[in-house]
Amino acid sequence: MAARVSIARAARSLASSAAPPRQLRSSGLLCCGNGAAWQRSAMRAAALEKTSLRQELRRGFAASATAREKKYTEDHEWIELEASGKIGTLGITTYASSALGDVVFIELPELGLEVNAGDAIGAVESVKSASDILTPVGGTIVEANGALEDKPANVNRDPEGEAWIARIEVRDAKELDGLMGKEEYEKFTSE
């Protein structure tokens, strides 16, 4: 139930009293419209079960060789480590950006923000929905893609390239091990 805990944590660290946890949970990347919390919750519940199973299976397998591979989360974020293995670039996936529709606003994280895996570091908003961007790993935000503030629509054009969201100094690269590879993510989104 790691993901659920981190959502609660996200609710504490980011939302303070502004938004009840229920809302944060329902404002995920694939939520449509005000009344569609159901969709997100159902997806997340399904994803949660898979996550814990996958993490169980992988524990104990060192993955340093594959750590630099682009990784994906069930929440439809991606992360890619630089050669040093210290800094990761993250963003939202093409699948998520097309499900969201036209992105009209991006909230970027502040530099120096210390986060844990699963924390909300910002948000992507389309006309119909607001979605939190959850960091797949813990660490410190070292850069945010300021260009998106003027051109949020870039997230629809090139979400896995030019429209990256933030760079994070990764606390523990092992946290990437629990994430999906490209093929696995493609399978996940086609299910």
């Binding site: 449509c32 005000n34 529709g101 036209d102 009209v104 909230e107 948000a123 908003e125 006309v127 119909k128």
Partner: protein, 497 residues
């Protein structure tokens, strides 16, 4: 139901206009047990078409701030929570046009189509024309000489003076003065189909079970007070065999004129849309081809909508809904007319400052709080010709009475906001200068037409003045929010000059 009398004889010529209660698409899409349950009731009972296991109002709680009605469902409801969602007769057409579906009000409804994004579709509606399938909404008729009096007992509208062919926005009221649902009430124009006064209303899909239970309980009392077979009784029919299309946008009238609607008792006169003004309604038939082969049954053509644009709502026999939709799409052509879904509908109505039931108004909101004092007709107010005499009148009338005349006012008010930075969504707290909570956002989105973040919500009385600077908390950060007069975008209704 014992007192519900059987349907009155309708002249044969009127058959084309008749609202037959059986043989409906929605009925066919229901599970077998639901159909069985219905057929065990007398088919002529006005509520025979009411598929809900009625929600019963079990208690009405009062506290100092608001009134809340607690509803208990006797078992599964018709709002679709635990039943498979229904499909409108246009489901296949939606799928053909690449609809993305979402469950809404017990139905599977298109939220957008593959050709346009939500904001593109929104802008298209403001610049050209869009066709919305709103068949999930509940259409009713109330027939009989006392129909206006019955409706006046549950709404603050003046219906005995509403001219035939006219509509009014209204609200169904709880005894507490709070809103059961918002609705448009139309006095259908006289015809052989409706020889007696008939009022056509449209209510929300999401409140279907609650509304039908509410109407049935009040109608039961009304009709019980009038003897069986007495012509003073009111016949209520849920027109489930009718679908509803909304044709909206500046090109809507041009496209609908090209359809060459026919009117008159013989269906031989051409309908002149130039004389059909906003908030009026007429009966017409639509030729389904340019050659005049195939003409639809009776459509209720209302100049109305939920977008702030000029446009029409067309109530159409369900088995002709797809043919009418295809005819309009063909006439309009993709340069003028596109299908639009619930996504654009929501942002369009928000720009137009209109409430969405369950979000901006609900069972705890009174008309004055909701900024809907204007639905309380002059005739029904203190000193009016038909003062009071409706559910909740005591509270509603006190609240709409001007304060300078001793009216007690309200403690909160619905307002519009323009928010800087991040868009504020439903549930976001509205705060004052010192960060103290003064209200809550009930709807909000980035406005495709203005490029600003618009929202509506409730604030404490006294803070409703346009220009008042407040804050809204979005993801824990306070964003500047300015109280702004609604609509956010100028409405373009077709009114008499």
């Amino acid at each position: 139901m014992a007192s519900q009398r059987t349907a009155r004889a309708v002249s044969p010529a009127a058959n084309c206009f008749r609202l037959a209660p059986c043989r409906t698409y929605a009925q066919l899409a229901r599970p077998a047990w639901a159909r069985a349950a219905r057929s065990s009731r007398p088919a002529s009972s006005p509520l025979a078409t009411c598929d809900a296991k009625p929600a019963r109002i079990t208690s009405v709680q009062n506290n100092s701030n608001y009134h809340k009605v607690v509803l208990r469902q006797s078992s599964s409801s018709a709002t679709g929570e635990d039943e498979p969602p229904l499909k409108t007769p246009l489901f296949d057409l939606h799928a053909e046009y690449g609809a993305k579906f979402v469950p809404f009000g017990g139905y599977t409804m298109p939220v957008q189509y593959s050709d346009l994004s939500v904001s593109e579709s929104h802008k298209w509606t403001r610049e050209k024309a869009s066709l919305f399938d709103v068949s999930h909404m509940v259409q009713h008729t109330f027939t009989g000489p006392t129909a206006p009096a019955f409706l006046q007992s549950i709404t603050p509208s003046a219906l005995s003076t509403l001219p035939p062919g006219s509509s009014t926005l209204s609200v169904l009221l709880h005894p507490t003065g709070c809103i059961v649902d918002d609705t448009v009430i139309t006095h259908l124009p006289p015809s052989t189909a409706f020889p007696e006064p008939t009022f056509y209303t449209v209510t929300n899909a999401g409140t279907r079970a609650k509304d039908l239970a509410y109407l049935s309980s009040h109608l039961d009392v009304w009709n019980t007070e009038r003897a069986d077979g007495d012509s003073e009784q009111v016949i209520h029919t849920v027109a489930r065999e009718r679908g509803l299309l909304a044709l909206q946008g500046p090109l809507a009238a041009e496209i609908l004129s090209e359809a060459g609607l026919l009117t008159g008792e013989q269906g031989s006169e051409k309908l002149d849309l130039n004389t059909l003004y906003f908030s009026s309604c007429t009966l017409a038939r639509m030729p389904l081809s340019g050659k005049g082969e195939g003409v639809t049954g009776a459509l209720f053509v209302s100049r109305a909508g939920y977008t702030g644009e000029d446009g029409f709502e067309l109530s159409i026999p369900a088995d002709e809904l797809a043919a009418v939709a295809r005819r309009l799409l063909a006439l309009g052509g993709e340069d003028r007319l596109r299908l639009a879904g619930l996504g654009a509908r929501d942002s369009l109505r928000l720009e137009a400052g209109m409430c969405l039931y369950g979000h901006d108004i609900d069972d705890s909101t009174s008309p004055a709080e909701a900024g809907l004092a204007w639905v309380v007709a002059k005739e029904r107010r203190f000193g009016g010709k038909e003062e009071g005499g409706f559910l909740g009148a005591e509270r509603v009338l006190e609240e709409v009475k001007p304060k300078k005349e001793g009216g007690k006012g309200v403690s909160r008010r619905r307002i519009g906001l323009i928010v800087e930075g991040a868009p504020a969504r439903e549930g976001a707290k509205i705060v004052g200068e010192g960060g103290e909570e003064v209200g809550v956002v009930t709807s909000g989105c980035p406005s495709p037409s203005t490029g600003k973040n618009i929202a509506m919500g409730y604030v404490k009385d006294g803070l409703q003045k346009s220009g008042t600077e407040l804050g809204v908390l979005v993801r824990g950060k306070k964003r500047k929010a300015v109280v702004t007069k609604m609509p956010f975008v100028e409405t373009k209704y077709y009114r008499k000059a």
